[in-house]
Symmetry: C2
Subunit: 286 residues, 2 copies
């Protein structure tokens, strides 16, 4: 059974599953697990691992349009090297500070493979889910796409310092707050834009028409891959927000957001296209 | 660096670390990671794994004297077998239902070793921490000790069905609520009674005198190990509550608790003893 089918099994058992974070009263609540073989290429520092893993959970909070309150983490490693552990916690503290949340601790676990689990909570009385997009809404994306793909190229080529910088994304909590109250649907782009659009299309029973020239391809990606647009759209793990917003509200949202917001297309009745051609459901599989 | 030293490193960086769960405003928040080689002996069903892993996080909520609100989990496995995943989620749902909490989903992760991460949140405006025990307080324990040790014996001997039953403990949320407002210090017994007492002694700057005859040794342990009392006191992973309570309040707490509460000793000025002999800081190391 692949991950999508498995998520359907969980969705059949757990009420309210299917968004980036669960909603319990006015609290949003999410958990993630990352580990060495799939998430931390050789050269990833423990500081970056702390930043990125806790950031992934904070991104889920952002994707619900919530304020980020706090995060916790488990550091699982074959041995507890003091410098590594300290760096991990400092990365976790710093990414929380960047979005106004508190890192409040967690646990340790002896584990053959370096594996971290993180959870975050946030607050909102009006969560943005995936199912409210309507034809005619503008499709917007925060920041740039392809940053993680660019980081992976640099891990491969040995420019590890720059790779680590690119790996430390800022969770879009403030942009998510700006979008809350205006966005009709939202999720983060951790599976890549293409896959995200297919998921939003399914949840909202709509389609998307993407304009390739408007996609904010990360500058760092331009010289290192053959087809930067394709990579930016499908690679994933960028943790930007993908949202649908009535066109009339885009100006207000942009004024309140701390990062650029690009209109990359619009919501249609059905089908997901890039420059008029079908955009396949390709992307990151966790 | 061993786990204790590593926890001290985290404690030096993260304000408020050192209790069973973190406290953020009126929310308690905790995360755990369990995995096959150290936590799930051969024969552990996925249902039991779901129950036990989510239960471990709910136990941390209980140990703060909080109401359990909700839990989430990540199911990490080499492949997503539908029956296994479904059983895991059902175990998670059932343990939440047993304590009045909601299981609200989580995530999946392809992982070489079966590994699960769980987080739980709860509410209290008056959390019970580890640092308030005073000489003269009664030392109380919920339920029985040695249940997990008894389960391990049965996993070894092949009585897997009974082992699984013993592995599915009920998180002591209701007893924790009964203790809240009265207990001066509290934690769960996941590291074993002996180690828990050393931790409470350090946090509260006190000692403990335990009366061996009063320790509620699990019936199932009596015939299967050589020294049931020693095993019950040191094995750990029972997820009972260990608390200190002014003797005058024990009656009220017992009346409100849904499980038996044993007075197993008292708080002293210093030293941890069992029947007058030093009780070493031995127990479960995660």
């Amino acid at each position: 059974m692949n991950e999508r089918a498995a998520l359907d099994v969980v969705g059949g058992l757990v009420a309210g599953a299917g968004d980036d974070a669960a909603v319990v009263d006015d609290t949003v609540f999410t958990i993630d697990m990352l580990h060495e073989t799939t998430d931390f290429p050789a050269g990833t520092t423990r500081y970056t691992a702390g930043w990125r893993s806790v950031g992934a959970s904070l991104s889920d909070v952002a994707a619900m349009g919530a304020d980020a309150t706090a995060a916790v983490g488990v550091y699982g490693a074959p041995d507890f090297d003091e410098d590594g552990l300290r760096a991990y916690v400092e990365g976790a503290l710093d990414v929380c500070e960047a979005v106004g949340a508190e890192y409040v601790g967690g646990d340790l676990d002896g584990h053959d493979e370096f594996t971290v689990a993180t959870a975050a909570i946030g607050r909102t009385d009006d969560p943005v889910r995936r199912d409210g997009a309507s034809p005619g809404d503008a499709l917007v994306v925060t920041g740039t796409l392809g940053r993680t793909a660019a980081a992976m190229e640099r891990f491969d080529s040995g420019d590890v310092e720059r790779a680590n910088e690119l790996f430390r994304f800022e969770p879009r909590v403030r942009a998510g707050r700006a979008l809350a109250g205006h966005a009709t649907a939202m999720m983060d782009s951790s599976d890549g834009l293409a896959r995200s659009l297919h998921q939003l299309a399914e949840a909202s029973d709509c389609g998307f028409a993407v304009d390739g020239d408007s996609v904010p391809v990360a500058e760092e990606l331009r010289d290192v891959v053959e087809d930067p647009l394709d990579t930016a759209v499908t690679y994933g793990e960028d943790f930007e927000l993908v949202a649908t917003v009535p066109e009339s509200a885009v100006g207000v949202v942009r004024a309140e957001s701390d990062v650029p917001l690009s209109i990359v297309g619009e919501v249609t009745a059905s089908g997901v296209t890039l420059d008029g051609e079908p955009l396949a459901d390709r992307g990151w599989t966790h």
